[in-house]
Every structure is written in C-alpha cells, then in structure tokens.
Amino acid sequence: MGRCGGDRQAEHLPTRWPQLLDPGTLEAVVLTMGSKQTVFTREQLEEYQDCTFFTRKEIMRLFYRYQDLAPQLVPLDYTGCPAVKVPYELIGSMPELKDNPFRQRIAQVFSDDGDGHMTLDNFLDMFSVMSEMAPRDLKAYYAFKIYDFNNDDYICAWDLEQTVTRLTRGELSAEEVSLVCEKVLDEADSDHDGRLSLEDFRNMILRAPDFLSTFHIRI
C-alpha cells in the first residue's frame, strides 16, 4: 500500500469508485495490486451512513480523500477501527489552504479535542455538516462553533475581533476592528448581554434565509 498506490486511486476516484462496493457482500473493498482489500465492514458502513448524511458511495469517496491526505499514516483497512489521526500540520500545509484564514479554526472545531488533528470520523463529520441534507440548525451550530474562538459557548467581542481580523487580513486597524465588532454584536445581541449566545446567533442567521441555503457544498 505504497504512496503511489494511494495517489493513483485518488486520481481515478470518480470513475473508479463504482467498483469499490462489492455488490455481493455490500462491503467496501478496494482493488490494490490486483487483490481485494476490505476497507469497512458492512456494519461500519451502515453506521457511517446513519451518522452522516452520505450514501455509501460518498463515504467511500471521502475515505479515499482522507487516506490520500496521509497515505503513509492511514491504512486502507479500517475494519479494526484503527485510532489514526491526520495531524493538522498535514492539512494546514496544503497549498490550496495556504491563504485560507479559517483553516486552523475549522480543523480545531471538528477535531476531537480541539487540537486540529482529525480522525476519519471527524473528517466525515465535517463534510456531513456541509452537506445539503444537514439541517439548518446543525449548520448554524457548527458555524457558531467556528466563530467561538475561545470555546466559551458565547461569541464575545474578542471572538469577533479574531474573525474580523482574519477576514480583513490586517487591513483594518485595531480600532476599526473593534468598532465593527461592536456593531456586529449590537445587531445580533437580542438580550443585550454584550455577547452572542447560540440562540442569538441562530435567530440572526435564520432571519436572512439565503445565509444557510448557500452554506453547503456538493461532494
């Protein structure tokens, strides 16, 4: 299961993956060097299907993407539920993500202990939330989490300042940032406690219906 094997599979994923499901056993298998390899057991796949908004095909596709992130770390055999994490350094150093101001935050929110290292479950979770099928409240919840930099379950001025600074890439002065944050807080803060609870956030975000309607991607 060398590196080149993983790469090759990733490249051919869209066309190849119909073969990845063995119709006889409904187990997810992969053809590597001519031999069949079971990735998930049937139970595992069903469990993943229950826990996410994905079909088997999509799960397999995401798995290969995950495996491709760190081919040397992630085994192709997941039947034993190996405790594998892709370290954040690998995700954050992807060239496409280089300029994204939220890459670390996203990884942190979806990782188990907030360190940005992602297991396969985390990885699937992340895309599950972005799926069209995910309910709005779930999306709002995760969006809220992403904003909540200090994990105190409230979006406070500091959290917003982080967001604004990242968004503007340092174009605004500290003073302007805090002015903007004040305004943002003021707009959405219905109970006037100077910070946004999840409830505030949800109300505000659902008021503009186009918000969450665009908050998904097609895998």
Partner: protein
Amino acid sequence: MLRAALPLLMLPLAAARAAEEPTQEPGVPGESPPGLALFRWQWHEVEAPYLVALWILVASLAKIVFHLSRKVTSLVPESCLLILLGLVLGGIVLAVAKKAEYQLEPGTFFLFLLPPIVLDSGYFMPSRLFFDNLGAILTYAVVGTLWNAFTTGAALWGLQQAGLVASRVQAGLLDFLLFGSLISAVDPVAVLAVFEEVHVNETLFIIVFGESLLNDAVTVVLYKVCNSFVEMGSANVRATDYLKGVASLFVVSLGGAAVGLVFAFLLALTTRFTKRVRIIEPLLVFLLAYAAYLTAEMASLSAILAVTMCGLGCKKYVEANISHKSRTAVKYTMKTLASCAETVIFMLLGISAVDSSKWAWDSGLVLGTLIFILFFRALGVVLQTWVLNQFRLVPLDKIDQVVMSYGGLRGAVAFALVILLDRTKVPAKDYFVATTIVVVFFTVIVQGLTIKPLVKWLKVKRSEHHKPTLNQELHEHTFDHILAAVEDVVGHHGYHYWRDRWEQFDKKYLSQLLMRRSAYRIRDQIWDVYYRLNIRDAISFVDQGGHVLSSTGLTLPSMPSRNSVAETSVTNLLRESGSGACLDLQVIDTVRSGRDREDAAMHHLLSGGLYKPRRRYKASCSHHFISEDAQERQDKEVFQQNMKRRLESFKSTKHNICLTKNKPRPHKAGHKKKDGMASVEAINKKPRDLGFQDTAAVILTVESEEEEESNSSETEKEDDEGIIFVARATSEVLQEGKISGSLELCPSPRVIPPSPTCAEKELPWKSGHGDLAVYVSSETTKIVPVDMQMGWNQSISSLESLASPPCTQDPTLTRLPPRQLDVDEPPALLDLSSDPRPTFAFPPSLAKAGRSRSESSADIPQQQELQPLMGHKDRTHLSPGTANSHWCIHFNRGGRL
C-alpha cells in the same frame, strides 16, 4: 457630464436621421434676398438635432404624464404605455405626412439606443448574484436560445409544409430558421422594462435578465450564419460552413467578452490616474465603455456581451478610484441615458408598427409563431431546469419555471434584426416583419400586463427588502472562506474554490495594479458596510429625532412644519432603502434623488465624527502630502491616548451634567455627591430657578471642575482636540455648520435617546446638530443655553486650534497643537468665565474658522457644494438630546481603549 454625454448620443443620431430624411419639412423660405436679412429662418441647419431633441422631449413628457397617475403605472408597465403612445403618434404622423416617418432604424438602435441600456445593466449588475448563477444563465442563454431558434424555425417550416401558412409566403427551411433565430432571443430591454416593475426575487430576475443579455452572442451568430446561408442559397452550403458556424459562436461570444474585459482593464487603469482631473472621470467611463461596444461591433463580435463584461469588470476598481461625486454623476448619467434610450425605443417601436407598407399579414404565420415561441420556450425551460437542478444547490421550483417561461419577452432587438433583412434575398421579409411586430407587441403588452398578476397569483417569492446587516456581510465572507477551505480539503474544485482563487488573485495583483494606493487601502468591504450602516442608522435616528423632540415637549415655534417635511422625506428614504443592487432604470426618477441628497447629507454628518475622518483624512489629503506609515502610526497612538484622556475628563463632566439634569430627582444627585465639589455645588443650586443666568453659573462651576479633573492631562486633552480638528479639517465635511456642531456637542439636560444602542452611540452625526443648537438657542433661551455652555466649554480648545489654518496643510502639526494650545487655553477659559453668554458670540467666529479651513483645502470641492442642502436639512431634525449620546461615544471608546 450629462451635457457632455448627451450630445455624444444625439449628434450621430441626428446625423443618421439627417441622412435618412433629407427632404423632410420644407420649412425654409426659398431664396433670401441678398443683403442684410433682419431675420433668417434656418430650419435646415438645426433640423436633425432639433427633431431628435424633440422626440426625446416628447417621450419624457409622456413619461411624466404616465406617472401622474399612480394607478395606471401600477397596473400597466410603462413599456406598454410607450408603445401605445408610439402607435398614436405614428398614426398622427402618418395622417399628416401621408407617409410613415421616424421609424426605429436598425443603425440608430444598435449604435446609439442599445449601448446605454446594456451599459447600465452591466455596470449595475449585482456581480456576486450573477456569477453565483452563471451556470444557469449560460445554459439558458446558449442552449435555450439555440433550442428556441431551431424548434421554432423547424416547426414553422412544418406548418408551411402542412399547408397552414398561405402559399404567398415564399420561404424555405433556411428562411424559417433565420426567422426563428431572430425571434427566439429574449430581449434585454423588454425584460428589464417589465421585470423591474414586478420585483420577483433576485435569483429569478438575474437568471432571466442575465439570459437576455448573454444570449445576444448566440442571436448574433445564429442570425449571421443563417443570413449568409440564405444569401448563399441552401444548395451552396457545405459541411465546412456548418462547422464554421459553430466555431463563430465561440469566436463571437468569447471575442466579445474579451474585448469587454480589455476595455474594462483600460478603464480601471485610466481612472487610477485621474486624481487631478476629477471632472473627466465620468466621461472616461462612458467613453471607454462605448469604445468597447463599437470595437466589438466593428469586429462583428457580440457588442452587448462586450459592454456587459466591461461594466461588470470595471465597476469594482472604477468605483474605488473615482471620487464620490463622480460616482454619483456616473450613476445618474447612466440611468438617465438608459431610461431615455428605453423610452425612445418603445415609442419608436410603436411608431414603426404603423407603417403598413413594410409588412404583410398572414394569420397562419402569425398565430403559429406566437404559439410556437410560447410553447417551445416553456418546454425548453422545463427541460433545461430539470437538467440544471441536478447540479444546482438551490433548485429552481415549478413556479420559477413558469415565470421564466412567461418572462421570455421579445423586443426591439428582434425588430431591428428583421428590418435588417434583405428583401431580395428573403422574399418573405414583409411577412416576417409583420409577425415580429405582432410577437413583440404581444409579449410586451399582453405578457407584460399579465405577468404582475401572475406573479402575485402564483405567490412567487418576491425580492425581500430586508435590511442588510453587518452580520450578513461578515458571515457571508466567513462562510465563503469556510466553504472554500472545506472544498480544498476534499480536493473538490467547485465554485467556492474558484471564487477563493479569484479573490486571492484579485487582492494580490489586480487590485494593486488597478486601484489607487489610497483607495486600495481604505477599501475593505467590511469597513465599507460598517460605514454604510452607520449612515443608515444616522438616517433612522434623524427620523427618530423628530419624535424625541416632540415627545419631550420641546416644541419650537417653527418646528412642526419643518419636522413634517423632513419626516416624509426621511421615511420615504427608509422605505426605499435596502435595495442592494439596483438594476431599476427608473429608480432615479422617483425616490432616489431625494435619497441621494439625504445620503450625501448623512454622509457628511457622519464624517464629521471622530473615527471615519481618520480614514478619509488619509485618502483625501494625499493630494497635498504623502503621509508615511510611521506618521500615521504616531497619529493613531496619540489619538488613542487622547481618547482615554478624554474619557476621563469627560466622566466628570458627564456626572455634572447628570446632576444639573436630574434636578427633579434629588436622590440621584445625592448619590453622585461623592463625585466631587462641583456636584455639591450643583445640588445646592438645584432649587433655584433655571433662569438663564443661573444655568450659566452652574455651567461655570462645571467647567472649572472639569478643568481641575483633567488638569494632569491637560496637554493630552488639548492634543486630542487638535487631532480631531485635523481630521475634520481634512475630512469631507468642512462646513461651518458641521464643525460648529461637532464642537459644541451640547449634552442635553433632559433627553436620553430612546434606544441608546451601541450603534447609535457610535454615530458621530449626532454631534452634527450643533449648528441647530445655535439656531435653536436664539429662540428658546430657557433650556438650550445650558447645552451651549457645555459645548462651548468642551470645545473651546478645538476652537482654538480651528482658528489656526496651518493644521490643515501640514501634517506634522497634528502633533504640535498641544504646545500651542497650552499657551492659548487659559486666556480663552478666562474669557469664557467672564462672559456670561459666550455662546452667542461663538458661532460667527467659528463659522469664519470653518470657512477659512474649507477654503484652504482645495481637495474637497464636492462636499462644499452640498453644504447648503445639509445645513438646512439638519436644522429640521434638531434634537438637543442627541448631543448626549455623542459624549457616550467618547465614553465607550475610551473605555475600550
């Protein structure tokens, strides 16, 4: 600008007309006798432009008349009325001149009437919405138009084969395909005219409208290909010609877009260097866009596509580069030209239909065409939507499809194209003309009339005018980034991926290249939105201010009437606000003008405040000097420090105000006793009559106390004032009234704003009513002098610095004022304490100071022109209570700093 651009439009138009009707109107007296004529009638020399101007005037007057009755215009689209008017006018001309005149000439239409409309729609196109739906728009524009053209043409041919079309219509399959290609394209002018009055949701609108713009390329190609096939004769067409036809589709569309983008680039680059010649900025926009149109036309590429792309591409950079006033000029001129062109098009369309020599009727053909275009349009939309919905995030539902099918209006483009046909090559031209006229009239009048009730009946999601919030902007950006990040992780290069890439590219290279350095610096979207929202809040507060005023029972003699005037305009404005992207051609005619003025007024009020001017200052003053980064940082530091000082010194003042304020509530005053001597004094004075002299006395105590409190920080405080002054001086505001307002900052004894939200507290414009305070004080001396005194005391130092003009010119002086003021300050204060009513001497001197300053900064002429308007607007909204919240600003800010 308008004057510069209109002749541009009219003169060639006139020339075209002059060429086409040289023998018209023999109004000239034959031979004038040799020698000096006292009076000469030179109709011939002015005839052509005169007629053009006259026609536009008639059209404009007709528009005014239509809009006299709200009922009519709410039921009938303007385009219908104009066509009907054209019919009537055409009938009159026909009856008088015995022949049809003043018809819609294809040359005039394509070269002069169409470009302004397309430019307007391209320039004001909501680009994000457009690119979000680009896939759907392109599908409908390309596949849909091809489908419509071929099916309609083929079906008509079938109809003829079946014998349902009279045999005198001599046309083969190719002729019918040609006709199908010109009749199939949805017309941007007609769609715009009808849809802007219907207000369907943005997605639906952008799809129909975007399709109508982009299908031009397909129409042009199809028309040209079919036309040349017809002219070659079907026998001579070879297989390679078909291939060439397909290839030309790409050449024409991509070439047109490329021409547009090149000119957009040129335009953006040019406006980067117009800092010293602001006056030609609007002209450049129109000239280069028109050049793009003509260039594309010259190369027989899609001119509509070129202008659309030019407008779409240049807007961001041009808007950032040109001055505020040029922006307004561009917007108004564009809207005026487009509206004018649209009006003329529809009217001429009506007139042209009268000319019976041009057309020949065949019921089978007409009815068949009508049915086929409706049917195939609907079928095409349903099929394409089904495919598209497999890929779309937000699928288009059935109701959307109905509106899309029904909204496929045909218009002047089809008419101009059919007129262009060569009768010798296309023997059935007259029949085609008649059919086109009927189709255009049917779609514009019947469908235009019924689409509004249909939309209502189907309960199509209307466009919502919800208030855009800063949250929305913020989250939109954040979500974009999050989605892009997630797409990157999954290695799925979807839409967000490309948008993210584009944004990075734009930020790194394009903006750097095409935007002025200063413009690039201030141009951050979030800040922009924040700024705009503040203006909006300012407006709503002014609206509210009227109520505050009346509720507190402070009714001034002349206040009610002023109030009502102001309120109507402001509420109008509020109702109108919230339209993000405005494609509405009419919008300027109705409420916008009022709104713009108000907007400008608020804009100025706002920039009178503390924070924004810092940015403005950097931007606008670059004319005089280039401020270095170090300098800026230094300024900022001083500024922030000052805010802190100011807060401290102000705390005390505020308490005192509260004391004087709370006279009816002694317990509160007692509670504040600990604050110091002055409070005690104030309480002592509590039972006394609040006569003018008394209040003055109170104030004096307060003042001295403030001085004590801030003694230690005297220099910084002065410095602060100095800084503020510089900021203002170089800000856009620069008007005496404004300055006096921000300086006087009279804290009100009574009124606490009804809902002192953070946003409101931040609004600097609240201080902008100072001039009103002056104004009012002369009328109601009882209460206001207290405020005036306070304002005087607090701003005395600013006044001092105001009087020294060098500050505006020399940036280094921003750090100098402390010393200077240290010297000046004590006498001033002494003066004040010895003078019982200094306020009344204050405004003139202040005004002088303000004037001298505004004159000294030549950079900002536009703002000054707007001043009279503002001053008089502001006055109507005076609420003494507002100043209070201004101080809250300082308080809050200081706290954070």
